[in-house]
């Protein structure tokens, strides 16, 4: 068992009749990227807000380094967090925003230049945030999170609004932070992204814990193999596969898909019937499918496509 840097115990948040977070318990360990995965409305942001003492839990506790976040005198030096990147006063320049942050925690001014450089904000730091794209706001939020060189980092949907370059940069950054033995928790509804980035996954749906395991375990546990096979005599092959008790179906004129089987098995079946094969491959079920299997009943908003959460930037001020 590794060190538990973040401990979530029986965390519950109720808004009126709605249970946004329901008796959630999990740990986050250092040295790896932990993905916090769930559909929109699953309670990821609410959980992170409670971790940061922004929202008061109805019951349960969150401890960071053994203490509640609200007890920290210099929170930026222990926990860096990026929540909604639109939650900034857009009339300030990026640098002024960071300067306020630095003042609160006694971080030296030169550190501002370092993080501005690190996140690639460059000369934009001198401009008003009003003119920033969502991607630039994400970078600014990440700069603020890194300002105090903290050992714990929480990122809520950091890929939102980033272009391909930005996403690759974030992936590298997350990996680098974890390799420095920092504790990294990243929420996302982008399953494919987490598959590439996270070592461990905490999956929630409707505020409840659905899975808490390594990414490989979650993929392996649910990632049933599929076999794709093409043959000019696919009709005969289909019959033989079904005789074997395998679930197979036609996906194209000459192409079949076989569930929960292996290339070896399908190859043998074809060989027994002296059937020519033009293609034979295995495909692992994507996390996407595994995730849908896990959260199948737990998608809060059925039929709503996964979209980036809108920012609250454009309100009157």
């Amino acid at each position: 068992m590794g060190r538990r840097v973040i401990q979530v115990r029986g965390l519950t948040k109720r808004y009126g009749d709605v249970l946004a977070v329901d008796d959630l318990s999990f740990d986050v360990e250092p040295g790896k990227v932990t993905g916090f995965l769930g559909p929109n409305g699953a309670g990821k942001s609410t959980t992170m807000r409670m971790m940061l003492g922004l929202d008061r839990p109805t019951s349960g506790t969150v401890l960071v380094n053994g203490r509640p976040f609200t007890a920290l005198a210099e929170p930026l030096r222990e926990v860096g967090a990026l929540l909604d990147p639109g939650s900034v006063h857009a009339g300030r320049t990026g640098r002024s925003h960071l300067r306020v942050a630095a003042r609160t925690n006694g971080v030296p001014e030169r550190r501002i230049d370092e993080v501005v450089e690190q996140v690639g904000l460059g000369s934009a730091a001198g401009r008003r945030i009003r003119g920033y794209s969502l991607g630039m706001r994400q970078r600014l939020g990440i700069a603020a999170a890194l300002l105090g060189d903290p050992r714990v980092l929480l990122f809520d949907e950091p890929m939102n609004g980033l272009d391909l370059d930005g996403i690759r940069w974030i992936r590298g950054l997350l990996r680098q932070l974890a390799d420095q033995d920092r504790t990294v928790l990243v929420s996302s509804h982008l399953l494919s992204e987490m598959q590439q980035t996270a070592d461990r996954l905490v999956v929630i749906g409707r505020g409840r814990l659905i899975a808490d395991a390594t990414t490989a375990e979650i993929l392996g546990g649910l990632g049933r193999l599929q076999v794709r096979v093409r043959s000019s005599r696919s009709e005969e092959l289909l019959a033989r596969l079904r005789e074997r008790g395998l679930t197979a179906e036609r996906v194209d004129t000459h192409e079949l898909r076989v569930e929960e089987s292996t290339a070896e098995e399908v190859g043998e079946v074809a060989n027994e019937g002296h059937l020519p094969l033009h293609h034979l491959s295995e495909a692992q079920q994507s996390l996407e499918h595994a995730y849908l299997a896990l959260t199948g009943d737990d998608v809060e908003y059925h039929g709503r496509p996964a979209e980036p959460t809108p920012t609250r930037t454009e309100v009157a001020r």
Binding site: R49, L54, P75, E78, D84, H89, G106, R151, R312
Partner: protein
């Protein structure tokens, strides 16, 4: 050669930070927060334009009058111009609190200063202090403007000046504390602005117009009446101590309510 401090040493050190140090840092951050938005400068410019502009005009008027006042103190102009100008300073204060809710800036603010009482006290201190000093300085500028343009009709006795500028500073500080409380309590710019104007200006003016004794009594316990008495002195039945009590009561009570909401409620929902 000494070993460089490790990250762990630094964090352990951080835990020993006194509340006073955390508060001092929060105040420094609030100061930066205040001066890095344009609204602060605009409202300050508006207050300056009103106080110095009216001061200078009043001086010209006095100089050009067929029966010019002889030897009156110029300080009178400071309190008169402070009456309208205080609203620019109150709006400045209010916006410094509510813009954090309008923009969502309260989220990073509480991430950086999660001890909410410290954030509240730092913001209240910086805002009331800044506006009180600004009020006093503009009061001085206003009297100097009148003194200069009316030269040599108006006097500028310094011992009177200290008392007048102190009064302006007190009225502005009490109003600013009320505005801070309203901002944290209502979390909404328009709502809090309406509340400030009702309490500080409209209700104290309107209620006595209807001629009912109970409305007069109600108007007498509104903060705007206390401010008007201290600045203009034209409120029957009011004394300096009752005016001070009313102002402090409102400032204290409303800021207590704002503090309660900040410390008890979720950050911004």
């Amino acid at each position: 050669m000494t070993a460089a401090p490790t990250a762990r040493d630094r964090r352990d050190e951080a835990r020993d930070l006194s509340t006073g140090q955390v508060f001092a840092r929060a105040c420094a951050a609030e100061w930066t927060r205040l001066w890095t938005v344009r609204a602060t400068w605009w409202f300050l410019a508006a207050a300056a334009a009103v106080m110095v502009g009216i001061g200078a005009t009043a001086g010209f008027e006095a100089a050009g009058s067929p029966d010019p006042p002889q030897g009156d103190p110029a300080w009178r102009i400071s309190t008169i111009t402070a009456m309208p100008a205080q609203f620019a300073l109150l709006a400045l204060t209010l916006l410094a609190v509510t813009s954090d809710y309008a923009t969502g800036g309260i989220v990073p603010a509480l991430q950086w200063t999660p001890r909410r009482t410290i954030l509240f006290l730092a913001r209240a201190l910086v805002l009331t202090g800044t506006t009180a000093v600004a009020g006093a300085l503009l009061g001085l500028a206003s009297a100097l403007a009148a003194h200069t343009t009316a030269r040599p009709l108006l006097r500028l006795p310094w011992d009177d000046g200290v008392e007048v500028l102190g009064t302006v500073a007190f009225v502005v500080a009490a109003g600013a504390l009320l505005a801070v409380g309203l901002g944290f309590l209502l979390r909404h710019t328009a709502g809090a602005l309406v509340a400030v104007f009702l309490l500080m200006l409209l209700l104290p003016l309107l209620l006595p117009q209807f001629g009912y004794a109970w409305m007069d009594a109600l108007a007498d316990v509104l903060p705007g009446t206390g401010a008007a008495f201290l600045l203009l002195g034209e409120v029957p039945g009011m004394t300096t101590s009752s005016a001070v009590t009313v102002l402090l009561g409102w400032a204290g009570g409303v800021s207590l309510a704002g503090w309660l909401r900040l410390t008890r409620d979720d950050a911004n929902r």
